[in-house]
């Protein structure tokens, strides 16, 4: 026996809301506080740090920009998918939702390559104390071949370093410095959110869409909720991109 809960689909006249929409907004409010805590930590740690690296020393800006564009576009397709449902065009909804999914996966894929790039990058402290950062082309027990990062148009040729020349070699993981720690934490959490969004959208695009036949209005509401979440996740990126890549 199931109990009929009021205002699951219809708007309640005095509040102008249906339940799931209010629930979604409350959830998003708590998400704002979650990311807010991290942004505040970023600001604090950066303010009190004696020096702070430039994002562009660690990031591939054109790739990051492209990824930003991917995400913005996906919000547009998402809203189009919802609008198609409101206009009763289920076929178009499938198309737009499919596009949203592809763009979401593309974003995650590019993010993954960015992550992999970090784990091939090292900061190498030489015996004389100088630090060279760069992409490690190959390494074995006796030597390391390093392609140094181009800084100010400096020479851009691979250099071969004997192990004995190297005092310490640290990969660009979260432990490398506080900037990278924040980068991995923030983008990692963001990527997890995006992954959750992709899974929800996949469900709504696939098996979940059968609800359209039975309860079109409720299904449209579900898509709207998913769209609100998707927009939120994209909005977070709009703040993450400048603070991690540009400033």
């Amino acid at each position: 026996m199931t109990v009929e809960i009021p205002y699951g689909v219809q708007e309640r006249p005095d509040t102008g809301l249906w339940n799931a929409k209010l629930g979604m907004w409350l959830f998003l409010a708590s998400e704002v506080m979650l990311f807010g805590g991290l942004f505040a930590s970023y600001a604090t740690l950066r303010t009190y740090a004696p020096d702070w690296p430039k994002g562009s020393d660690f990031q591939n800006i054109p790739l990051g920009t492209f990824n930003t564009a991917v995400l913005i576009t996906s919000s547009i397709t998402m809203v189009m998918g919802w609008a198609s449902l409101v206009m009763g065009q289920f076929g178009k909804f499938r198309l737009y939702m499919g596009l949203t999914l592809l763009l979401g996966v593309l974003f995650l894929g590019i993010k993954a390559t960015e992550y992999r790039g970090k784990f091939e990058h090292y900061g190498v402290t030489l015996a004389d104390g100088t630090v060279v950062t760069g992409h490690v082309e190959s390494q074995d027990a006796s030597r390391v071949v390093l392609l140094p990062d181009a800084k100010g148009g400096a020479a851009h040729e691979p250099m071969t370093l004997a192990r004995s020349q190297i005092k310490r070699m640290i990969v660009f993981g979260p432990w490398y410095n506080t900037y990278l720690a924040l980068y991995f934490t923030l983008t990692g959490l963001h990527a997890l959110h995006l992954l959750a969004g992709v899974l929800v959208n996949l469900y709504l695009w696939g098996p979940g869409s059968r609800m359209w036949q039975r309860e079109p209005e409720r299904f449209t509401h579900r898509v709207e909720c998913a769209g609100l979440f998707w927009h939120f996740v994209d909005l977070v990126w709009i703040f993450l991109f400048p603070i991690l890549y540009l400033l």
């Binding site: 009021p6 629930g23 604090t44 740690l45 991995f184």
Partner: protein, 583 residues
């Protein structure tokens, strides 16, 4: 199948409320037991614990003598369990779930499946916390506050603690979204905002506190996990030396720790949650007490609107006072000044609520039943807790009192004889609704008086010890410190108070289970109450109300003039009320 559906995987808010209640009470007892163990070490430091001392194994209590490491685990887990696994789940999870939909005339919570999910995430979080006692190094041992850098470098139990917290935070997120939506959307026809019982208001404000204050702790937990598992230094300063050794990265790649992190950042994020959290502990308690006082004084509650606005003021302000826990951290006098001011401001609305409740007693014909006794005792006990907060609010006095037993006394007066009394009051009061039977009054009174006396024996001496300068962190209760020597005898008093109080709780436990089967059967509305939860059978059926109720008036129409009965239920149509008056 029927059993599992009905009792275990239920989506009925009443059953979920009871699940919260049972689990929460079990954790309450468990957390209390941890403290009773600590009290042995404090009263008789270094002595072997008789009888059960050998149960804990060589790694915890060799020869029955408690190791400092184990003492620290007990302390950290006592706080964690009491706050996150016992009091909040009972005050918000159990009462919020069971009572709120009934009081607003809703068939269930707005999202029944989410409701079940919230209970089960809580349950898993609880299991994880419990299991952490058995990992290498034992449970978390850096206090319930998990201050960095201590917690960053603590044993594995801390990692488990952080994972457990993530589950608990998720649970409270689901619960608060659900409760707020329910109150906003599912009120019965005629149940306007200003007709809501005050209990519902307190739950609503509590929901917002949980919703907005917990996430920053979650971000802090993520960062602490990164520190512990991925070698970052969010909360680790540069050049940290431990036992004469430069600290190395805990995990991940290199042997180098970048440092440059901020231990203070953890404290800010933690207290940004944990101060609102103390109002999460107390607001529902105020709500319960209000219901019971109105019912048992048989008169309308004083200043209903003032109560509602004060609850909101408290909720809002509680986000602006967190750093009063940090006066001694060196965060600076400007910050201290700001937070002293806000802390004093927040006492005003709390005071308004207390004043209204006390004034409500004026001229009432009071019924002294067990729920009312607990509710009445809440007032002076909470009042004492609140008053002793004021010297802590000012940096100049807090400099001396900080980290002494005075602080422990302060917050236990608000939470233990305060909130926990309200919880007991609520259990006695709503028991007939959940079971259709009354709890026994005699056992109830034994329980009440015994607990009241013991609570004060336990906690009052803490003020004295604290003012003498005894630190809350000493493992031997001060035995090796000269300044404590005149106050050591109090330790045994407090410990015996705790152990006797455990015995008194037997009266409650026996009463609870005995009454479930054998208690006196009662009508649907045994307390002659006005609110909607009494307008349906006890226990209420699935879906709560045989027919959707309509609400005609405010929540506390007791002893209304021109009315034969001394109470006028919210759902009674006005016509029949006039009829009642003329006959």
């Amino acid at each position: 199948m029927g059993f599992w559906r009905h009792y275990v995987f239920s989506t009925d808010h009443k059953m979920i409320g009871l699940q919260y209640l049972f689990t929460g009470l079990v954790f309450l007892l468990f957390g209390f037991s941890l403290m009773m163990l600590m009290r042995w070490q404090l009263a008789y430091p270094g002595k072997a614990l008789p009888l059960i001392g050998s149960w804990f194994g060589e790694s915890r209590m060799p020869g029955g003598v408690m190791l400092p490491e184990f003492y620290n685990q007990l302390g950290a887990m006592h706080g964690t369990i009491m706050v996150f696994l016992a009091v909040v789940p009972i005050a918000f999870g159990a009462f919020g779930n069971f009572v709120v939909p009934l009081q607003i005339g809703a068939p269930d919570m707005a999202f029944p499946k989410l409701n079940a999910a919230s209970y089960w995430t809580y349950f898993v979080g609880g299991l994880i916390m419990f299991a952490s006692f058995f990992v290498p190094g034992g449970a978390a041992n850096s206090g319930w506050t998990s201050y960095a850098p201590l917690a960053d470098i603590a044993t594995m139990g801390q990692t488990v603690w952080l994972f457990g917290m993530v589950w608990l935070i998720t649970s409270s997120l689901l619960g608060s979204v659900n409760l707020i939506t329910t109150v906003v959307q599912c009120r019965a026809p005629g149940m306007t905002w200003m007709r809501l019982p005050f209990f519902v208001w307190t739950q609503l404000v509590t929901g917002f506190l949980l919703l907005l204050a917990f996430p920053p702790l979650e971000s802090a937990a993520v960062m602490q996990l990164m520190d512990r598992l991925a070698g970052t230094s969010f909360f680790l300063p540069s050049g940290l030396v431990i036992s004469g050794q430069m600290l190395k990265a805990t995990a991940g790649g290199p042997d180098l720790l970048v440092g440059g992190g901020s231990p203070l950042l953890w404290q800010h994020l933690f207290w940004f949650l944990a101060h609102p959290e103390v109002y999460v502990l107390v607001l529902p308690a105020m709500g319960v007490v209000t219901e019971i006082i109105a019912n048992n004084t048989r008169r309308p509650i004083m200043g209903y609107r003032a109560l509602v606005f004060s609850a909101f003021a408290v909720g809002f302000m509680s986000f602006l006072v967190w750093a009063h826990h940090m006066y001694l951290t060196g965060m600076g006098t400007t910050m201290s000044t700001f937070f002293q001011t806000t802390t004093v401001i927040i006492s005003i609305p709390s005071m308004v609520i207390m004043a209204m409740l006390v004034l409500s007693l004026w001229g009432g014909s009071i019924r002294f039943n067990t729920p009312m006794l607990f509710a009445l005792a809440f007032l002076p006990m909470f009042g004492l807790g609140g008053l002793t907060g004021l010297p802590l609010a000012f940096g100049i006095t807090d400099t001396y009192l900080h980290d002494t037993y005075y602080v422990i006394g302060h917050f236990h007066y608000v939470v233990a004889p305060g909130t926990i009394f309200a919880i007991f009051a609520g259990v006695y009061y709503w028991f007939p609704k959940a079971s259709g039977r009354m709890m026994d009054e005699t056992l109830g009174k034994v329980h009440f008086w015994g607990t009241l006396v013991c609570m004060n024996v336990i906690f009052f001496p803490m003020f004295i010890q604290g003012m003498a300068g005894i630190s809350r962190r000493w493992y031997d209760g001060g035995a090796t410190y000269d300044l404590a020597k005149n106050y050591l005898h109090l330790n045994a008093w407090m410990s015996w108070g705790a152990w006797v109080m455990a015995l008194v709780q037997v009266a409650f436990i026996v009463n609870f289970f005995w009454s479930m089967k054998r208690g006196r059967k009662v009508s649907d509305n045994p307390w002659q109450a006005t609110t909607l939860e009494w307008a349906t059978p006890s226990p209420p059926p699935h879906g709560n109300f045989p027919a959707m109720p309509t609400v005609y008036r405010g929540a506390y129409e007791y002893s209304a003039p021109d009315c034969a009965e001394d109470f006028l239920p919210q759902h009674q149509p006005p016509a029949s009320a006039t009829m009642g008056a003329t006959t």
